[in-house]
Symmetry: C2
């Protein structure tokens, strides 16, 4: 329903620069409020303009400092930037993330910068479902760049990182995390690598380890070879190179058709996940009796799954 012209809706206010209205909208998203459906349908025509950058890496590599430095570099170029700091791990680490956020508050008074933490509330599906909606809200609110920062390098982080158009993987000397990143499967999703704390003596060793691991992969003609950028977030060294590399990746995404392919694949994943969530909601009341029979060995799980799907149609 359209609001009368003299009383702009909460949505209008959020999309037109009212930071508090925007924060409330994102709280609805984070809470998984049913009202979000309507909001997303309303703001959909205003989406599709933002560039989404994922920043991931093991704890301790300096992700928050790097995000802050990157925000500064984009702001210096006059771009509006939003940061979504997403913690898909257990609530155990919630405190640490919040502490990291505070360090980024140097940008807190800048209207063209919006910073928001989203922690896992309950199960993972909630956050995986909420993040794409949060991106749509920030996109519609006119942020040209949206940085998604995740904690850690596990499967959950890989999943969140895959919501970005460009994925930057951050590493640092002394954490042995080129290997850890390889184990978590994050090398495969990286569009560029940033070796932070380049002023430390063994930074070049990390670059060499990374080159060796990347040498195992092949780049198709016209494909993208992930560059390795050395930087020091605390001093700003290497930040200009990082921005240039991100811009180059964006140009490649647009020119190669890869942007369209990625966004299509993301939409597929999102639809399937939402369909699953809807299915889960529908069958919640019915599945207990089936589960009891599967648990005591009187019903096989495949048949139980079929019954769930059949009941899901009501």
């Amino acid at each position: 329903m359209a609001s009368p012209a003299h009383a702009p809706s909460e949505l209008d206010r959020a999309l037109n620069g009212d930071v508090r209205a925007l924060a409330r909208l994102l709280s609805l998203v984070e809470d998984g409020s049913p009202r979000i459906r309507e909001v997303i349908a309303d703001l959909l025509p205003r989406t599709g303009q933002a560039r989404i950058i994922g920043l991931t890496g093991a704890p301790g590599v300096g992700k928050s400092t790097m995000t802050g430095a990157l925000v500064g570099a984009f702001r210096a170029a006059g771009r509006r930037v939003a940061v979504l700091a997403v913690d898909p791990t257990s609530p155990f680490t919630g405190g640490a993330l919040l502490g990291d956020r505070i360090r980024m508050q140097e940008h807190a008074t800048d209207e063209a910068v919006f910073i928001r933490s989203m922690a896992s509330r309950g199960h993972l599906g909630g956050l995986a479902a909420a993040t794409p909606q949060a991106i749509r809200v920030l996109d519609a609110a006119g942020f040209e760049l949206i940085i998604i920062e995740t904690v850690g390098v596990g499967q959950a982080e890989v999943a969140i990182a895959s919501l970005a158009d460009s994925v930057a993987v951050l590493l640092a000397p002394g954490l042995g995390d080129a290997i850890q990143a390889a184990k978590a499967g994050i090398l495969e999703v990286a569009d560029l690598f940033v070796v932070n704390k380049a002023d430390k003596p063994d930074a070049q060793q990390v670059v060499r380890d990374l080159r060796n691991m990347l040498a195992l992969g092949t780049v198709e003609p016209g494909g993208w070879k992930p560059p390795i950028i050395t930087a020091t977030a605390t001093t700003g060294e290497g930040l200009a190179e990082l921005v240039t590399a991100l811009d180059a990746h964006w140009d490649w995404l647009c020119a190669s058709g890869e942007l369209k392919r990625r966004r299509h694949a993301r939409a597929r994943e999102e639809i399937t996940m939402l369909a699953f969530a809807a299915l889960r909601d529908r069958v919640t009341g019915n599945v207990d009796e089936l589960a009891a029979r599967v648990a005591d060995g009187t019903l096989d799980p495949f048949q139980a799954a079929e019954e769930v799907l059949a009941r899901g149609q009501d």
Copy 2:
């Protein structure tokens, strides 16, 4: 269909101790063969007897050696043991796991021990779906104890560990992994902790770190307080204590009704996941056109999900 008495079926042979028939059956499971449905339905009446023990921990803590030692301890008590070594991470680490397996081959000639690696073939859902079926097969084949060993401490490992009745989390000095385990959310799923390499000087520090972290949690009256066992897998020190602690946990599971609750919850998860997999298969052909509209912002993802569910009914 029943086989004639003079020609036992592959399933009968596998369930009656033919190790090669059992290995072929598990290959079907691992491949996600559609034949598995029928096999599971057939062997279901013979399941429900096995105790399932999960063993997880960061790379380098000595999981394979500990698994081998535990197998030895159970065998000394005359129990039949199967080991499923599951690697839910990227195929990148497949080689390392296979190397670890070879070290356990001291038990390879013992007919009452069955050891099997399952690596991720393609996407995670495949392995998450295959593991419960592999457990059913080993359970029906009469293994009293099934040890599920996972690599790493990420979300995927937590998911696999949650298939066990008792989850043992392995730590070792010098890897800082009490903290890592906390970050991965694995402390919450642990029924007992094993600090391996207890002969190293800083093992007691790991025990202290762990105690401090566990002190944050509360144990309800009649609940289970995860014990911390120090052990050295290479010498067998602490193994008897570990077996005693596992037996105590099993007694508690049975007496408290928690075993029933856990198996019910697992059945719920499994049914929901299989329903999801079936749904995914059904809609694969249809979702592309919807995804294109969501990607270009002309259709909202919630409506797309509804259409997927409606089409899934055909």
